[in-house]
Structure formats: structure tokens, C-alpha cells
Amino acid sequence: MKSLAELKAIRDRAKAQLDLRKENPNAARVLVGMATCGIAAGARPVLNAFTEEIAKRGLTDSVTVTQTGCIGICQYEPVVEIEIPGEEKVTYVKVAPEMVPRIVNDHLVNHNVVTEFTIGAIQK
């Protein structure tokens, strides 16, 4: 170790995993439906895509990704709910891994709901 910059580089690299272990009540939450219906419809790659994307963008200290059970709209699985404190909960349906970067960028970073992926758009 020859400099503080070197130490900081290691710190930044390792920090994301540690953020996962901190309870942050103000964090935005991404809830991926992972009951049997969700898993069958392909929720696992979606869950992992969220994890990767959020780590890549350095959002681990402000966003947590968790699983949840079946919320009763099995025909629309994989279902992802996003809760940002102070904003209305948004439900995305039939989510595919390819849609994840856009949801993260538009919704979690810029607070613009991706309306076309939401349950409201599909029910029309």
C-alpha cells in the first residue's frame, strides 16, 4: 500500500457488498415477485439484472433489491414493484432483463416512471 488512493480504490470496490448489510429505512426498494409463478415466468434473471445494474451504477447505498411473494396477478409475472419513499408505489409487469437498465435509469435515478411497462399500460 503506497498511497491513500490505493486504499480508497479497494474500499470503493468492496463497499457495495457491505451496503447490502446495512439497514437503510430511506432506501428505495425494488421488490421482485419470486413465488412459483414468478420464478416460472423468469423472475430470477430479472432479479439478478436489477442487482447487477444497481451495483454498476453505484446505487447500493440508496436502493435495496429484495424478493417478495406472489401478489396475486400471476398472469402478469414477472412483477416488479418499486417503492421510493415519498412517491407512489409503481408496479411493473412482464418485466424482462432487457427492460431493467431503462427502469433503473429512468425511474430510480431520474424519477420518471416508465409508463409503458406498468400495469396501467398493459390493462388498457
Binding site: 470496490r13 421482485v32 439478478n48 436489477f50 442487482t51 429484495t66 424478493q67
Partner: protein
Amino acid sequence: MYRSNVLVCGGTGCTSSHSLLIAEKLKEELAAKGLDKEVNVITTGCFGLCALGPIMVVYPEGSFYSMVKVEDVPEIVEEHLNKGRIVTRLLYQETVEEDTIKSLNKTAFYEKQKRVALRNCGVIDPEKIDDYIANDGYAALGKVLTEMTPEEVIQTMLDSGLRGRGGAGFPTGLKWKFARGNDADQKYVCCNADEGDPGAFMDRSVLEGDPHVVLEAMAIAGYAIGASEGYIYVRAEYPIAVKRLQIAIDQAHEYGLLGKDIFGTGFDFDIHIRLGAGAFVCGEETALMTSIEGKRGEPRPRPPFPAVKGLYRKPTTLNNVETYANIPQIILKGAEWFASMGTEKSKGTKVFALGGKINHTGLVEVPMGTTLRTIIEEIGGGIPNGKKFKAAQTGGPSGGCIPAEHLDIQIDYDNLLAIGSMMGSGGLIVMDETDCMVDIAKFFLEFTVDESCGKCTPCRIGTKRLLEMLEKITKGQGSLEMLDEMEKLCHYIKENSLCGLGQTAPNPVLSTLRYFKDEYIAHVVDKKCPAGVCKDLLEYTIDKSKCIGCGLCSRKCPVGAISVTDYVAPGKKKPAYEIDHSKCIKCGACFDACKFKSIYKG
């Protein structure tokens, strides 16, 4: 990137109830389900709530599973980690509320705690230096080496008001200042990890859960006093701690955080481990250093103090593990931050090892000045089986007993001394109404008699004589004069012993004499043990008027002391039994066996 972290406690307590098997099984199950790239299993240090071990915490949900068994693992993996359904029945029940799950930090055990020394225990993987660095590890060393002069470091320590956590409470900054002030070609930094108090295990938990914090703090101390070498003296009975320390030292070397030219500043520092054989006296600073030198662990008179002539007769600073665990935080957050916690003369937090008659056996860290009542009743969850609190013993064999009347005292170094106990290393043993205080004093004295090194007479012979008197009292051979004689001898030993072991050994006797004299008097005058502990003062008797003659006690008696009589109590069908006191060994088997409460103890 893992989506979920499963933390399994790998401290000594949980390990002994097979937590490592649980971690293995978890990895196996996750691999079988193809989840091993998504879920990370981490073995951590102690979470503190040892009574509920083995402990497992799943993040990001923060689900706290307690008393987990290997057989529970497949269910947790399938339900929680695969499908996201928390296995409520295995959660620590205090975190479960009707339809929501409370955060761990909101439970009675954790809510009143303030974790400084233990901040990484149960959070990081102690065998991964990256985990420590991620939580600001080695940043304090970096700051000290690149931005501060040694004098500034010492001033920060002085301003923080940090006092030694090993027991005596000497200001750490002052210790460092003295060692800095003595010029020598070589100086040493030592770490006292010879945790000898049989009721304390906070140093072990820090070493097992966060070994790097000790290394970092020792390097800071080395810079402050001008030393390039350090020794950690740790007992060989702590195999997990020793193993993780060695791993930590190797990793720190690999990263260049120990060794030559650290952070390119020209500062060199290296650390060696020395294993102790477990002698209590080696926790005393001069005996510890004599033992590191390879000699028999005996204390030597002070002065000269270690800051003048310590290890290998060179200026040395010796601090305790918990003291070191506070130091990097003080450097990073500032002396004012640390001094804002605690009481006027005792700053910061203190870790206590809760044991004895208490529901939440484990480790707690609270700000100095927290009352004993808060620690025992709120954090500790009170006394099991609805029994009444009698006393709390602090400071281990060197400390004293605190009675119920002082439950509301604010715990700090000076308040404890004022009521005849001491902080010691922070062992806190709770006793209820079924504990005999004379017996407790005898227990601790047996320990010090065993552990006295024998170098000085007041300790070697004085404690032995004291123990003999206590044995007589518990056998009903004591007298009132003996109590006065005992007290006199206690003061004599305190004043004339060479080291801290002898100077504090009479404390358990003195404090019980002070607060529980009535129990001593019951032993010597009435020849009775009110708590029913001292066997020689006990007698088991069958109340013939209640005995229904079932004969269960007679069958349970291991020495055949119970036989049937020809007396049949009015209203009973069979003849009653009686105990032959000349044969009775007072084991209590009959007392426990009798379903009709016809046997009396007293």
C-alpha cells in the same frame, strides 16, 4: 454482485452449537439450487445475543433467525432465499409483530446499545481484509500517517478521554505520552489479549469478529510513541481468535498495511503473536511482558513503569483489545465525538459480557453511565423463571458484588469503585435469590488462590488463609470473630500485595461482607444457608403428615438413606418415609422427585 448476504455467526458461542456446519450446509444447498452466484454466505464474528445462538441474519431484508439447526437450512434456502418468503417460525420472536417484521435494531436487546468497539462484529467477514476496508478500515492509519504528527495523535487521545478498558481505567493518551517521552533505540507496542476473567469474553469477540481493528490501532500507537514492533499476547484457549489474527496479519502484510514504508511515508511497523498458557496473572502488565520475553510469567515491582522499562527493558505501551478497538473511530470521527458519549470522567462506551441468571446471555455495548437496571432488565431481558434479583458481580475475581439498592447507579469507573466493586474487563454476572453470597465469595477466592503466582507472600498465603476461613463458614464452623478477622486480612492483602491480582483478590469478600453481612451472620450464628446452597448447613426432612408413602424419593436416593416408617398420616393410606441424616449426602434428588412437596430443605 450478490443479491443477498447470509451472515452466520462464527464466534466461539455459536460455533460450539455447530454454526459452522450450518454455513457449510447453506453453501451446499445453495449450490444444489444454482443460487451460489446470487447468495453469499459469510461467517462473521459475534452478534452479541449468544443466548439465541446459532444466529443467522439474511440481508437485505435483515431477517434475524435464531437457534437455527442444520435441519432448518433446506427450508430457509427454498422458502426465503429462493422464493422470498421469510420463515417466520424461525425468526427471533421479538422481531415478529402481527403482520410485519421489526428491525433487529428496534429490539430491546439492540435498541439501547451503542456499538463502537463492536461495530464490525457480526457485520464483516473477519477473514477478509476487503470487508474491513469497505467499512473505513485502515483509513485512520492512513490519516494519522499522512496528516498528523505523533504529538497530534496523542493529543487527540488525551482529548477524547479514552481510558483503558482492561480494568484499571488509566487514560490511554497519558500512557502514550509517557512512552513517547522516553528516548530509546527500540520501543514496543503490546496488546493485552490475555482475557483472564472467567466471565468476560469481549476481547475474544473483537479478535474473532474484527481482528484488523486491533492491528490498525496498534500501528497508530506505534506511530504515536515511535515504535516499529508490536506484540499481541493472546491466550492459547482462544484458537479461533488466534487463527483469525494470523490471517489478518498475513493479509495486512500482503496489502502493505504492515511491514516497511506503510503508505509510502517511511513508517515501518510489524506485529507478532505470542500465545499465553492461560495464567490469570499474565493479564497483569509486567507479568505479561515477562512472559513475552519467554520467562516465567511473574509480575515485578513498579516503578519502573512499562513506559520507561517495559518489554526487553525498552519503553513500551500496553493496551487492552477493547481499548484498541475504539481508537480508529476516535481518529476518524474526532475526540469531541467520543467525548460526547459517557459520563464526566468516563467517556465513550463499554462492552459488558452478560452472564449468570439472565435471559439474554451475551455481549452488550452501552454508553458509559447507563444504569445497571437498564442493562439487566431491559437489554438483558431480566432474570429467568420469575426469580428475584439479588446481586450483580462486576469485574470478575477482582471485582465486587452490587446489591439491588445500587441498581440505579450510573456505571462508570469511579462510581463502581465508590460502591466497592470495579469495572474490570466488563464481566457482569447476575445472581438471583437462589445464589448464596458466601459461596460466591468462596468461588472467586478459589480462583485467585489457584491463580496466584506465588511470588509475594501476602497474596500467596493471605488468599489461602482467607479461603480457609470461608470454607469453615460454609461448613458451619465459623464465628462472628472470624468475620472481623477476615475483614482485617482482606485489607492487609490489598495493601501489601505486589501486583493487581493480590491487591484486588479480596474484593469479592469485602463487597459481600459489606452488602450481605446478614447472610454471613446466618452462616456463623444460626448455622443456616438462607439460599440453600451450602450443603453442610442443609438438611432435607420429610414432613410425615404430608407424605403419601409413594416411595419415589426412596427409589431416587442414590445412597439408600430413605426408608419407610410405620407411621401412617391421618387421611393417607400408606406409611410415611423418613431420611436417615447420617447417610444423607444432600444431593437433593428426593427434593426434586417429590410431587407432593412433602420434603423440606433448610
